[in-house]
Point group: C2
Chain length 404, copies 2
């Protein structure tokens, strides 16, 4: 089913995709929109004109109220939007509310409640283990028993396009001094990195003290996510309580949230889990997604991480996150962790690609290890759509500014 909107067919943003976002136009307050081709459909006036029963949740300045409504409303609004952009009879109503992307500013689509980041790629975790602990086991003993995760800083989740200031922090020179008595100094990170991830957006909250329900009852959709990381800061600080300032300076997400419904044709079985997970992790909808990611540095595709290679499913991550009775809130966001495949050109961060900085890679015609000031990092991704073609996830991009 193809949209009548000009340019939508074959764009990755046809009627089989319809991601939601928040935009501002002409200095007016932010509003909710759906992307179709290179246009934003301004939803609230159309919903009001159609007297849609949930029009009030589409008149907010973030997606949260809509997300809180749950799967039945998500599905009915999606059917309604699909009709708007595919039926010629709706054209005269809809066309006045189609704004060219070039005329709007895209904002953060959700008010982020809690942000959790997982570590669900076996290839990534194995590589990181080999780089940091070359003499030990690559994976920690817990890795195949539970999807390891930690809480990040929700207040520094920013929308694609936001510049990222190089963070400063404590750094330890690893090749000089007495290894038993390290002498940190403080300054701009010398090992600034990105992590290519998917982010899962929670719509429906759950009750404190009980595990959440099924994946599709709570999770609305997916964004691309860049978990910027200062590796030198992280390496020194992370024992024993985990990453903190090495991560908390910025996390970028795409402005468009792709509904799970648009990814129905991208669902694939997991590569396989051994040992068998404990019963609480044997959940329904425990699939992966055939989402192909591109990691782009200054307009050059550097690697192509395959999401289908991830070990833990997003449904398992959700089950784990609430297995202790922790409640979900609307706007909770959880990242998959770096997406890396088995091959070098499938690695989702520079730490792996440059093997801890020891094996530079080539980009822009020269040798590179970590991020330099002025670098622009963009994550792009596509997946099979439900109409036979491919959908394009909203990209996430950010430029590195020098430390102040």
């Amino acid at each position: 089913m193809t949209s009548w909107v000009e340019g939508a067919a074959g764009s990755g943003f046809d009627a089989d995709h319809l991601p939601y976002g928040v935009f501002a136009h002409d200095e007016e307050a932010p509003r909710i929109g759906v992307r179709i081709g290179d246009f934003v459909l301004d939803l609230s006036p159309v919903a009001a004109a159609h007297m849609l029963d949930v029009h009030h949740v589409l008149e907010e300045q973030s997606l949260n109220a809509f997300l809180a409504e749950g799967p039945a409303v998500w599905a009915s609004v999606r059917r309604w939007v699909t009709e708007l952009v595919t039926e010629q009879a709706e054209r005269h109503v809809v066309e006045p509310h189609l704004l060219p992307l070039s005329e709007v500013t895209l904002g953060l689509p959700i008010e982020v409640a809690d942000y959790v980041d997982f570590y669900a790629s076996e290839h990534h975790a194995t590589n990181v283990g080999r780089i940091f602990r070359p003499d030990g086991d690559a994976l920690t003993p817990n890795w195949k028993h539970l999807p390891i995760g930690y809480h990040g800083r929700s207040g520094t989740v920013v929308v694609s396009g936001t510049d990222v200031v190089r963070p400063s922090g404590q750094r330890v020179a690893t090749k000089t001094g007495d290894p038993g008595h390290p002498r940190p100094d403080f300054g701009p990170s010398r090992r600034l990195d990105l992590e290519a991830e998917l982010g899962y957006v929670v719509g429906v909250p759950s009750t404190l003290g009980a595990p959440a329900g099924a994946f599709r009852e709570h999770v609305f959709g997916v964004t691309l996510l860049n978990d910027w990381s200062a590796r030198d800061v992280q390496a020194w600080e992370y024992v024993p309580l985990g990453p903190f300032l090495g991560k908390s300076f910025a996390t970028s997400v795409s402005p468009w949230v792709t509904p799970l419904e648009a990814l129905a044709a991208a669902e694939v079985p997991l590569p396989g889990q051994d040992p068998e997970p404990l019963p609480y992790l044997q959940v329904a909808d425990s699939h992966g997604y055939a989402i192909d990611v591109e990691l782009v540095l200054n307009d050059e595709v550097v690697t192509r991480p395959p999401y289908a290679a991830m070990y833990w499913s997003p449904a398992q991550m959700l089950a784990h996150l609430t297995a202790n009775g922790a409640s979900l809130r609307t706007g909770d966001l959880y990242g998959s962790g770096t997406i890396s495949g088995p091959e070098r050109e499938q690695r989702g961060c520079f730490l792996e690609l440059s093997w801890g900085g020891r094996e530079p890679f080539t980009a822009g015609g020269r040798e590179r290890t970590f991020l330099e000031d002025g670098d622009v990092v963009t994550l792009r991704a596509s997946a099979p759509g439900t109409a036979g073609g491919r959908i394009t996830l909203g990209e996430v991009t950010g430029r590195i500014l020098p430390a102040p």
Copy 2:
């Protein structure tokens, strides 16, 4: 300066304290109040009647809007409230708005933005290191160089009085099986613990990409905080990304936020820092507080952790938290980490008090290690007030319910 309110003198909640909270009365919407003696002063009607220029921020359902106003407004509202409760001339205006504590329900005083937990007690960190790593150094190499911290789950911060359901999670039997191939099972935590802490409440936000300003420009006040912890879950999950489900099921805070101004007489020098901290951690107002905490199990004082023994100051924790450019938001909350002194009877958690469960302590006339269903844990604290007596911080209490 003593209040005319009956019973306030000598109560720990006299005119030199005046903590803020949020209460509900007669099924009306929650409102902001100040505690004086065993009464809550209902602030919004008095502020409106007095035409206080910031009355609108006192008419909210959380303290956040008031906290965002900053130190000048905090000070002027405090002066105004002080006059209300000390000058006889105000009595006829104020008395109708004094509600007995027994007639109100106290709520969570702030909408928590990001929650961070530090690890600032050298005695606690040393004890934990000795318990978990008996053959290694007690402190990790980074411990005296930076205040170690991590992000917790802000969505499960609950107000004092909220029951805590025993969390379930993955547990590993440490004394059986092959240590190289642990076999976790899933079930209710067998090592449920508490952590006695102070929580610092941020009022004034800061800008992304730059360190925050001075401690007093951002931090409004203090709560007592219980960082409930499932030690068995935590011990298995925390390598390499830190505590997650072992902590995220609940964090309890007192309903009253004590302004920093009320703690002016409790400021004390830190015990001493060696090595000298890096320059970015040599900040103004880098003091501790002579706050004496009591850890109460089922009405029996079990230990008395002294906050004055903490290694890192709250001003240093704030400087560290934003040194990488991470921004602050109104409602950010950061915990001190478990407060423990050098003596056994000054330890702030059962992990330390029972030395990992190996050395039971006596409470309620019998041997105890970790928390049992039905246990009630209460943290109380007091500090020198500015009027020569002592102020009593709002207590934080919670009862353990069995796992479902």
